[in-house]
């Protein structure tokens, strides 16, 4: 017909045939305005062509003022919209729609009528819906007859009912309602599928061809065009990662495969390196009516952040455990060695506690900086405060210490101060200690710290080296890779400590 119509000469004839048809027809534009109608339609609705052309259909006919008017309009409008959306014909087996008729007194009255309508899309050369063709039949008499029969409930009602198509109509109405319900449910399902927060895809056939996938799946794979492609072609980077084999297995056996925190390297950006993600997912077989596996339903969600967070947490707990155990071993060493140099439990307790507190002071400083490090001045200040604010003089530039260096220097200064309080300058009221330090070298920084005691009792070299002085010497060498010179001069003990500060970076 289309080809014939194009031939031109036949054009007018077709229009004449349309106009002369005993069946009512009308054409609507996509914005639901009248584009044309035939004589039978004009007769059925009791209007003139001029009064309708170009007018919105629901302005011309609004089903009157009755209770059902809004529902009727809605039903009809929904049918037009389905045609526009799907491009497919839509059928309304029965639709009630009131039509205006001029009354005896000239007043317009509305009469309820029943219609059966088919709405067919008319496409242009590009395939877009240009018009909706409505073919409508007035079935009011049939419907009334059916209802009367149903009301009367006479013995022959069922036969008559069937005869006039009552049950057929009833069935058609039911099917229509069911179809509408199904269509709406399907739309809802598709919408849920597309908007689901997890990723979803449907693969079909033994080559796992992508039939459909949702937005989240698109996002997972970098929005590549995969529809209609087999998975090996669509996502080639999965080769060797085991996933093709899992799909083959599910297709072959019909058994669901579930992956938990599964590592996948994916091409999420073109030409960029593969990105590592972790997924929880399920491959579920889809079976046809005969029970054979026809495809695979893929669904899951990304858990990369959870997996990485759990790994970070494990690392942190391991590190914490390591530090705690090392600190306990340190405390154990202090206890054992302090015990060996103290016979009296009371002096052991005092000496042991002051060493534990020295460790704790530097820990406090480091905690304040989240274990990034500490300032040398602060370490010295914390460890010497107990001996009086003005008795230990601290002079030197700002020096940032790494945590390990801060802990070692804290312990060293604690031992020096304790010794001074027992035997040296801090054992008498007028004695004091001068601590000077300086940095040399810009790149490989060397710290030189001098401890000089003044105003104390006359000094003599100790007869035996206690744990304290061994600890100082060992810590400088072992923990700080530095050197120490001590001098028991008669006017006061001195120590000069030289420590490289940038060992960590060189290593």
């Amino acid at each position: 017909m289309k080809e014939l119509a194009k031939a031109g000469a036949i054009h007018a004839d077709l229009a004449a045939v349309f106009d002369a048809s005993p069946n009512p027809y009308m054409l609507l534009t996509p914005d639901l305005r009248y584009a044309g109608m035939n004589q039978a339609y004009l007769h059925a609705v009791g209007a003139t062509r001029e009064s309708l052309l170009g007018r919105p259909v629901f302005e011309a006919f609004d089903s009157g003022p009755g209770d059902k008017a809004a529902d009727n309009v809605h039903q009809l409008r929904a049918s037009f919209e389905r045609v526009l959306r799907t491009g497919e014909p839509d059928h309304l087996a029965v639709v009630e729609y009131a039509m205006p008729t001029p009354g005896a007194d000239g007043q317009v009255q509305f009469e309820n009528r029943f219609w059966s309508a088919t709405h067919t899309p008319v496409r242009d050369d590009d395939g877009a819906v240009r018009y909706i063709l409505q073919h409508t039949t007035d079935i009011t008499e049939l419907e009334r007859l059916r209802r009367q029969v149903a009301d009367r409930r006479s013995e022959d009602s069922s036969a008559l009912d069937a005869m006039v198509g009552g049950s057929v109509l009833k069935r058609a109405t039911d099917v229509q309602a069911a179809n509408r319900q199904l269509q709406s449910e399907r739309n809802q399902l598709v919408e849920m599928f597309m908007q689901a927060p997890g990723f979803v895809a449907v693969l079909t056939g033994p080559d796992h061809v992508f039939q459909m996938h949702n937005l989240a799946y698109g996002q997972l794979i970098g929005h590549r065009d995969i529809t209609g492609k087999p998975v090996r072609e669509a996502l080639p980077e999965l080769e060797g990662q085991g996933y093709f084999e899992f799909l083959d297995e599910v297709f072959a056996t019909g058994e669901t495969y579930e992956g938990r925190e599964s590592r996948v390297a994916l091409q999420r950006t073109p030409d960029a390196p593969l990105e590592l993600v972790f997924l929880n997912f399920v491959y579920q077989p889809i079976r046809d009516d005969g029970g054979r596996v026809a495809g695979i339903f893929v669904q899951g969600y990304e858990v990369t952040q959870n997996v990485l967070a759990a790994e970070r947490q494990k690392l942190m707990i391991d590190e914490l455990n390591h530090r705690v155990k090392n600190t306990l071993a340190t405390v154990q060493s202090i206890a054992m060695q302090t015990a060996r140099s103290h016979v009296e439990p009371a002096t052991f307790a005092e000496s042991f506690q002051s060493r534990i507190l020295a460790l704790s002071h530097t820990h406090n400083l480091l905690t304040r900086s989240h274990w990034e490090g500490a300032q040398l001045h602060d370490v010295l200040d914390h460890e010497t405060q107990a001996h009086g604010a003005h008795r230990v003089l601290l002079n030197g530039p700002l020096v940032a210490l790494e945590p390990a260096s801060a802990l070692a220097l804290g312990m060293i200064v604690h031992e020096l101060a304790t010794n001074a309080a027992k035997y040296g300058a801090l054992s008498v009221p007028d004695g004091r200690v001068v601590v000077d330090w300086r940095l040399s070298n810009q790149t490989d920084r060397m710290l030189t710290l001098s401890w000089r005691e003044e105003g104390g009792p006359a000094v003599a070299p100790p007869s035996r080296r206690g744990f304290g002085s061994r600890l100082v010497e060992r810590s400088v060498r072992h923990d700080l890779a530095g050197t120490i010179d001590t001098d028991y001069r008669i006017e006061g003990f001195t120590a000069e400590i030289t420590v490289p500060l940038d060992r960590g970076q060189a290593a």
Binding site: H322, K325, A329, T330, S333, Q337, A404, R474, A507
Partner: protein, 129 residues
């Protein structure tokens, strides 16, 4: 404890690799109490490897797994190559060891004198058997 092993341990040279000076001093004290001669202690892996390769007549070694942020396994390899038995010490537990060394004699920090002594006996017995 007067076992044949104990008399056999007198004077044996035992390498210590441990970055914490206080812990190293504790190990030295324990070893000296046992009659052993501590070697080191090394505070870095480099120094540990040097001693493991160069020190004569090593009978055993105590290796801290994490030495100043690096793992002690190069020292373990050097000792294994020489056939010197050794014991790991760690705060991580045995789970902190990689597959290659899993199951190797390990003592947990903090340790008692008894655990250090027994671990050394076991390690040396294994190599002498």
């Amino acid at each position: 404890m007067t076992t044949p092993q104990q008399t056999g341990i007198e004077g044996r040279r035992v390498l210590i690799v441990e970055d914490e000076s206080l812990v190293a001093m504790l190990l030295e004290t324990i070893l000296e109490d046992m009659g052993c001669a501590p070697v080191g202690p090394a505070s870095t892996v480099d120094e540990g490897v040097r001693l493991a390769q160069g020190e004569p007549e090593l009978s055993c070694a105590l290796l801290d797994v994490n030495v100043a942020g690096t793992t002690v396994f190069p020292v373990a390899d050097a000792l294994k190559a020489r056939g010197v038995p050794f014991v790991f010490s760690t705060g991580y537990g045995e789970g902190g060891l990689p597959d290659e060394w899993r199951g190797h004699p390990t003592i947990q920090k903090p340790f008692t004198e008894a655990t250090v002594r027994e671990a050394l006996f076991t390690a040396m017995d294994i190599s002498f058997a």
